[in-house]
Symmetry: C2
Subunit: 236 residues, 2 copies
């Protein structure tokens, strides 16, 4: 490490293609062991939703673009915007994203991957399994890749959390000048998901990473805490 | 390091309060030396815009909320949304953010900090100074903390870049299954800014960090490459 305060982004490599019924926690534990990575206090584990969805059987057949479009409509609770083939929708969980989170990349031809039914619960299950195996309570973030208004390019965000509050609430704290902070809520779980993506990549088969050495807020939190309520959202 | 592929987030500590005319690159170089941090090939330097703005004299007096509101209106090229005291505006650079980027936190009472006039140029100047001092070409990202539609909490994003293409274009590449990637553009500069924020924090006086050991795209790029053009943006 360069300094005592240096944080690390540790990719968990060698994770094989996941199929329905596979035990994601076991695969992650095996990868960490094979990579020589121990589990430390303060670690956060980030897992891309795709391997979770696959293990949970959230894969459906999609033979053509029409079927794909129908599937997106079915997965959408509300359509927020539509332009040509692009649908921005709110999912039943509450997340707003393109195509209601239905994705045809990194899955066999003729298939599409849906979001986990309850990503917080998926995160909780992985966390529990790891705690039992290694005796450490490591918070887990399930990530997905979302677009956003105004800014080009996609970033990874948190769609499931367990053991970590997804938002740091700075209300009442003061800055280095003693002035109360105007910026009061930091989306720490999204920043952690984005950081983990830096060692995962989209075309590489690295679906999990450990973020080590950062401060994060303990808490029960749910990933939907990161979703603005409709009345406070100026852009739906 | 935990594995060969592990990346590091290295906070540059001990940077003093910056004032107009200060040499930000010199301060960063001194901090790295004091922290025992060498500069390596592949490093990316992230600097929060606030110290750049202060050094460039982008500070103005604001005696009350009315003056602050007037200042925001002057800094805004276009107002995108308005609700109560909150103004979401596009700045002259093209960024869309709250209060046109005018900020009263982490600055002396009665003052507000504006965005740098040309953050890409600020990044370029710092990069050039570091290259001359240490003989390494380290790309520089100037970051700011932005909110976003749909999701609560703020994240750090890139508002200035030099030596790094802010977007990875994956068009034409295939995923691990051989399928062409649907996700074609990754906002790598925003993910790097968010990662760096994990070791900076809002209430701490850590305004710069080195991100080490990740892959990033070489390129001329400008930070406004990250801004969606109005016609392709469904949410203005």
């Amino acid at each position: 490490m360069a300094t005592d305060m240096t944080a690390e982004l540790i990719p968990l490599e060698g994770i094989p293609e996941i199929e329905e019924g596979d035990d994601v926690a076991a695969v992650i534990l095996a990868s960490a062991e094979a990579c020589g990575v121990d589990w430390r206090s303060g670690d956060v584990l980030v897992v891309t939703h795709k391997i979770v969805s696959k293990a949970e059987g959230r894969i459906v057949s999609v033979v053509n673009d029409d079927e794909y479009r129908d599937l997106v409509e079915r997965e959408a609770a509300t359509v927020v915007r539509r332009r040509g083939d692009l649908i921005i929708a709110q999912t039943r969980h509450g997340f707003i994203c393109a195509n209601a989170g239905v994705d045809r990349s990194n899955v066999a031809a003729g298939k599409a991957v849906l979001l986990p039914l309850d990503p917080d619960r998926s995160a909780h299950r992985i966390r529990t399994r790891i705690r039992r195996a290694v005796g450490r309570d490591v918070p887990v973030i399930i990530s997905d890749t979302f677009g956003r208004p105004w800014r080009r390019g996609l970033t990874d965000v948190a769609i499931g959390v367990s053991g970590i509050a997804p938002i740091i609430d700075l209300r009442g704290t003061v800055d280095a000048s003693g002035r109360e902070l105007r910026v009061t809520e930091i989306a720490i779980a999204d920043e952690i998901a984005a950081a983990a993506d830096l060692v995962m990549g989209k075309a590489k088969a690295v679906p999990a990473a450990i973020v080590r050495g950062i401060e994060w807020p303990l808490g029960p939190g749910r990933a939907t805490d990161l979703v603005r309520s409709a009345p406070e959202d100026l852009f739906r």
